[in-house]
């Protein structure tokens, strides 16, 4: 669906390189990101950058994005592009609210998954059975999801809440903290020691005030990895996204796997919707509450190179930047610009080491521009601060310029025979 500029050249049988395992890459990137943030935080004098509050906010904001992105991952690994995540997410919010006000938060989760899955089922019928262009179907599902929930809300919620756009309140989940650990980390954080306090802040944010939904979402990530990369079901599912003809010739039920993947995808997006409804600040269905998070989830998944770890990175980046701007505003976001300058500095050194003179020069120019921006402005104007996550995402993509690789048969309509 998405046009690729450069054909991947057929490289003749290359000697195999020892590749660094994925988990190690993940650990190194996380460590690098933390190091960068704490350095920036120290140099700019904004402890908010690594405070536990910011981390918690980032987790809460990243959660729906992560779940939607995970939904995208499942579908696209099976070769179905899912731009309909937003619609499935909306259906999830409605389902969560409808079940939630009647039977509590756990029922809300179940209903959200069921409603999201229904959206997924529709997408699967259209794309797999009828061979409809995946984007068309996704766009239609976004429209349908919005229309259907509005219609149902008018019918079912209005009599109860006097508001056709909002459901009655939903019971919240209790939240949990790792008691001793959480307190100890907070003490460490408050000592304001370089790096240690930053790490403590970030960790503290991760173990404090966690709701079961957060835990489920965090668990779903390794679970998805395990299912997709370590089981026979996952192997079959991925093979369907890479080369359905080959899979078919080996007796893999291509349609079945695509169906399962897209339905799971819808369920996960629906769960993302539930995360919005069950957010302690919301606790109800509210029309328009998804606010494009389905699209952002899709973007986070592409950002993460169609892999769970990368997706987590994308969602975390977005949630972090959004959290930081909401909590701390333009001054601190400007601090992030300083962080980008440091990052660019590292890249310059690396490119020089690899003798990529042009890339290095380009990075230097951008770094200088960024630095000028940093020293001339006092804070980023409020109008742009709200879109800090968008800017950071663009900046990271432009700088990292990683070779994204989507599943080979992604978006391709498969016909048997």
């Amino acid at each position: 669906m998405i046009s690729t500029l450069e054909e991947k050249p057929h490289v003749p049988a290359a000697p195999r390189k020892r590749r660094v395992p994925g988990w190690a890459v993940g650990m190194i990137s996380v460590a690098g990101a933390v190091l960068l943030l704490s350095t920036t935080s120290y140099l700019t004098g904004f402890p908010q950058m690594t405070s536990s509050g910011t981390t918690q906010t980032a987790v809460r904001l990243a959660l729906p994005i992560l779940l939607a992105g995970l939904g995208g991952l499942w579908a696209e690994r099976a070769g179905v592009v899912n731009i309909g995540l937003e619609g499935m997410m909306i259906m999830g919010t409605w389902g969560a609210a409808w079940a939630g006000y009647q039977w509590g938060p756990w029922a809300a989760l179940v209903a959200a998954v069921v409603f999201g899955s229904l959206g997924g089922l529709l997408h699967a019928i259209a794309t797999v059975t009828f061979g409809v262009n995946h984007i068309v179907s996704g766009v239609a599902i976004n429209l349908l999801g919005a229309g259907l929930t509005k219609y149902l809300s008018t019918l079912l919620f209005q009599p109860l809440s006097n508001n056709p756009r909002q459901s009655p309140p939903v019971q919240p989940f209790d939240t949990f903290s790792a008691a001793g650990l959480s307190d100890w980390l907070r003490e460490l954080e408050n000592e304001q020691r370089v790096i240690i306090s930053d790490v403590a802040g970030i960790l503290g944010g991760l173990v404090t005030g966690v709701s079961p939904l957060t835990m489920i979402a965090i668990l779903l990530l390794p679970l998805s990895y395990f299912l997709l990369w370590r089981t026979r079901f996952g192997l079959r599912l991925r093979s369907v996204g890479e080369n359905p003809h080959a899979a078919d010739s080996l007796g893999v039920k291509v349609y079945l796997h695509k169906y399962v993947a897209v339905i799971v995808s819808g369920g996960l997006a629906g769960l993302g919707g539930a995360a919005l409804v069950l957010n302690p600040g919301q606790l109800s269905y509210l029309e328009g509450q998804t606010g494009g998070r389905g699209y952002i989830g899709l973007a986070a998944m592409i950002f993460g190179n169609w892999r769970p770890g990368g997706l987590l990175g994308g969602a975390a980046l977005f949630g972090y930047a959004d959290g930081l701007q909401l909590r701390s505003g333009g001054e601190v976001v400007l601090g992030l610009v300083y962080g980008v300058v440091i990052l660019l500095g590292v890249i310059v050194v690396w490119q020089l080491y690899r003798r990529k003179w042009f890339s290095a020069a380009a990075a230097i120019v951008v770094a200088v521009l960024m630095y000028l921006l940093y020293i001339t402005l006092d804070e980023i104007p409020g109008e742009f601060v709200s879109y800090a996550p968008h800017m950071v995402t663009l900046a990271v993509l432009a700088v990292a310029s990683q070779r994204l690789r989507m599943p080979a048969a992604d978006g391709v309509v498969y016909r048997r025979g």
């Binding site: 908010q48 405070s51 536990s52 509050g53 906010t57 809460r60 904001l61 209005q158 809440s161 006097n162 508001n163 056709p164 756009r165 909002q166 309140p169 209790d174 939240t175 949990f176 903290s177 790792a178 008691a179 001793g180 650990l181 959480s182 907070r186 408050n190 404090t208 005030g209 919005l276 957010n279 302690p280 600040g281 919301q282 606790l283 109800s284 509210l286 029309e287 328009g288 509450q289 606010g291 494009g292 959004d322 959290g323 909401l326 909590r327 701390s328 505003g329 409020g382 109008e383 709200s386």
Partner: protein, 359 residues
């Protein structure tokens, strides 16, 4: 080692340092002059067919539109307006100008008179439609239409009400540090922010006022993103603010929730939110609400039309005309504070304090 968090006591880590405020000497209250056009004789409006065109959200939004609806309901109850002689229509998100015009024309064409446009979004369409129906009496909440003589503006002095909210916040704050969360950064909401900050500083000159909008002008999702409202408020609470005022529509719910989790106080907006069902679970943190009496304005306008005397309506629904004010439900505002508030209110009414409407 995993413990359940109990209602907000676990993690109210207000890291910001703060000492109690030093308050300016409050003005003493003089007699308040309160007049509402409705406080008069019984008016009979049974002959009127009333049309309401709501902004996005419509009746039931637990906010501004609902307040207008309450005015209509009161008119039905008090003035003999027949329910079947009323029609309420509401706007859809992202609709264009012509949809608004069509809505107004529909109402006017079917003989509704008066017709009330709820929200400044109707200004441009009224400018077009009102001259087409010169005999119909239109009103526009929150806006004026230049050149159209048959459109009555129903304007509010939100900044004056918000001034008092600022005073309340200053007196309720233990750390002399308060916050404001706005939904969308538009001039209307900036009036709330401006009045609030001025009020807080008037009461306690050293006070620190945080301010944050969820989205900039043009992105109206800021009025319906409670999770983000919550995070914005949390940021202010973590920075040390302990009273948060919100003018954020449905996102305000998140602000209350953050206040509850952070063990601090909040001030509601538009209606008396302490008594609102949608935020009932967090009502104990709502110390007061800035009242914007759209209901009064709508009611008064209907009454004025029934009496055929539009000149009795105030130019602006302000403190003086009780078009804005503060709520005391919940009992957190004691007599002493109320006295202080009345003092400020009197000064504003008398013009001794002039409240700015831009930050």
């Amino acid at each position: 080692a995993c413990a359940k968090d109990t209602g907000g006591s676990g993690n109210n880590s207000n890291t910001g340092s703060g000492a109690a405020c030093e308050y300016a000497t409050p003005p003493t209250a003089s007699a308040t002059s309160s007049t509402s056009a409705a406080n008069g004789d019984k008016v009979d409006a049974s002959a009127l067919k009333i049309g309401l065109a709501y902004d996005i959200g419509g009746r039931g939004d637990a906010s501004f539109n609902d307040s207008a609806a309450a005015g209509l309901d009161k008119a039905i109850a008090d003035m003999g307006v027949k329910k079947e002689n009323t029609r309420e229509l509401s706007a859809a998100p992202n609709e264009d100008e012509s949809a608004k015009q069509t809505r107004l024309r529909q109402l006017a064409g079917e003989g509704f008179n008066p017709i009330i446009g709820v929200g400044f979004a109707y200004a441009e369409s009224l400018k077009v439609v009102a001259p087409e129906f010169p005999d119909v009496k239109f009103a526009l909440v929150d806006g004026t239409v230049e050149g159209a003589t048959n459109v009555t503006p129903l304007l509010f002095a939100e900044h004056e009400g918000s001034f008092l909210a600022g005073v309340i916040a200053a007196y309720q704050s233990k750390k002399c540090h308060v916050g404001f969360v706005g939904g969308v950064e538009i001039p209307l909401i900036q009036k709330f922010e401006a009045g609030y900050a001025q009020g807080a500083k008037a009461a306690a000159p050293n006070i620190k006022v945080e301010s944050k909008y969820i989205t900039p002008a043009g992105d109206f999702s800021g009025f319906q993103d409670a999770p983000k409202g919550q995070e914005a408020a949390k940021g202010q609470i973590d920075a040390g603010a302990d009273v948060i005022y919100q003018a954020a529509g449905a996102s305000g719910k998140g602000v209350f929730s953050a206040a509850k989790q952070g063990n601090v106080l909040a001030i509601g907006v538009d209606a008396d939110q302490y008594n609102q069902a949608t935020v009932a679970d967090t009502k104990d943190v709502i110390v007061s609400s800035m009242l914007k009496r759209v209901d009064v304005a709508v009611y008064d306008f209907v009454a004025a039309v029934a009496k055929n005397d539009l000149s009795s309506l105030p130019k602006v629904f302000d403190l003086k005309s009780d078009g804005v004010g503060y709520a005391t439900s919940g009992g957190k505002i004691d007599a002493k504070l109320q006295e202080i508030l009345e003092g400020y209110k009197a000064q504003i009414i008398e013009g001794k304090i002039s409240v700015k409407d831009t930050p």
